[in-house]
Symmetry: D2
Subunit: 133 residues, 4 copies
């Protein structure tokens, strides 16, 4: 069981949604931040570096947005409207970054893995958005 | 002249908006992050600590959102739609946090200063949203 | 297999240490950041809030240090001296935060879980320091 | 007067050092984070991109370390030993990053500005280290 889930299960925080859905989103955000951070470094080592610039910038953006979203989801006083709108931005950023990483997936295995992390994060955030409605 | 402005003026980045408006938003986001971070610590030292819990949580949220927004604004490959929507979340978060800080402004001078930083950031982000239209 | 490990295994980055030890440290840092972030929120909901102030501040500090350490470990151009010294700071911060969380472990299960995450992170960073010698 | 200084002057936090020296370090850390973040983006737009890879990685590292240091300095419960050791890592990271940026200063004005921000941050952190002794 992930630490995100353990912390939710042992928190005084009152959840009006399924803890599993929330923990899954937090875990997927963590994974996406890690994949994007490592993908930036991997991209910087590639021979076709100039082809990777857009990927690097989108990974930086996706990582920034996921870090903020994870923080907001880990707190109980978050205005539900702000949470939902930030989740929507996060879905869009993961989609954009995942699409770009996928373009490089054949050539660079690290971009394939990063695209998977972005897709999983996009889906987990969508599932949480559905649960918050 | 702030470093945000100096970096914009010396960057190969092509801006299709006024550099002053963008730099003002980045600087206001920096100030808001610093004010919120320091306000959390100040709140934790207050006698009426239980009254400050909502303020602490909203400062944590506002800081998370402002950090992400500043990062995204500092890059050129940002999808303009993601930038705009993140700016809208940021405006909402600064408004919510500023309102809460203002409630404590009479009693705690640090909350008054933090409310000012939130208001300035809200306005600077609104001005940038107008410029991006 | 964690994303940290998958990214290392698919990166052009040349490692002069065991990928498992490095990935374990990155994963433990992620867990520690998440546990500390959630513990701050849980502490803020407790009745004995004034007893939790030190714990909140140390969780904020530990989280800041772990985020930086994780970023540095995820990149290949890090000066090995800076990496080692930052890992040492991280070990000290996890130790201090874990000790404080443990003091509250009997009363608050969330502090017990957070203490575990801090201990695991401390150990994983020590193991990495040993591997870097 | 910067928000960092205003917040210190209006905080219940007891300082056993000069508020101006502490505020100057926090402000210089903010500037350094902003300069490094913008320099990464500017580097990514340059023709001689492969020459800029080391600069990008060191700016990412310096930014990570400065963000953590700023957070720790903005709080009162920081263990003085951890604070000092983190400041030392920060001085080393700003020195390394500033040296690399300076190598590109003739060709790229954005690297010249970033080098200045790194130097100022290095000096402000050294001054704070002296004040903490």
């Amino acid at each position: 069981m992930s630490y995100a889930r353990q912390m939710l299960d042992n928190s005084p925080r009152t959840l009006n949604l399924d803890a599993g859905v929330l923990a899954a989103a937090i875990d997927a955000l963590d994974d996406c931040v890690q994949a994007c951070t490592a993908d930036i470094d991997a991209d910087l080592s590639e021979q076709n570096l100039s082809d990777m610039v857009k990927c690097i910038r989108l990974c930086l953006e996706c990582s920034d947005v996921c870090v903020a979203t994870r923080g907001v989801l880990s707190r109980s006083e978050s205005g539900s409207r702000i949470t939902r709108r930030l989740l929507e931005v996060c879905v869009a950023s993961c989609k954009t970054c995942g699409d770009e990483c996928e373009r490089h997936a054949q050539r660079h295995a690290h971009c394939r893995v990063c695209a998977e992390a972005c897709r999983q994060c996009e889906q987990a955030c969508r599932a949480l958005l559905d649960a918050l409605k």
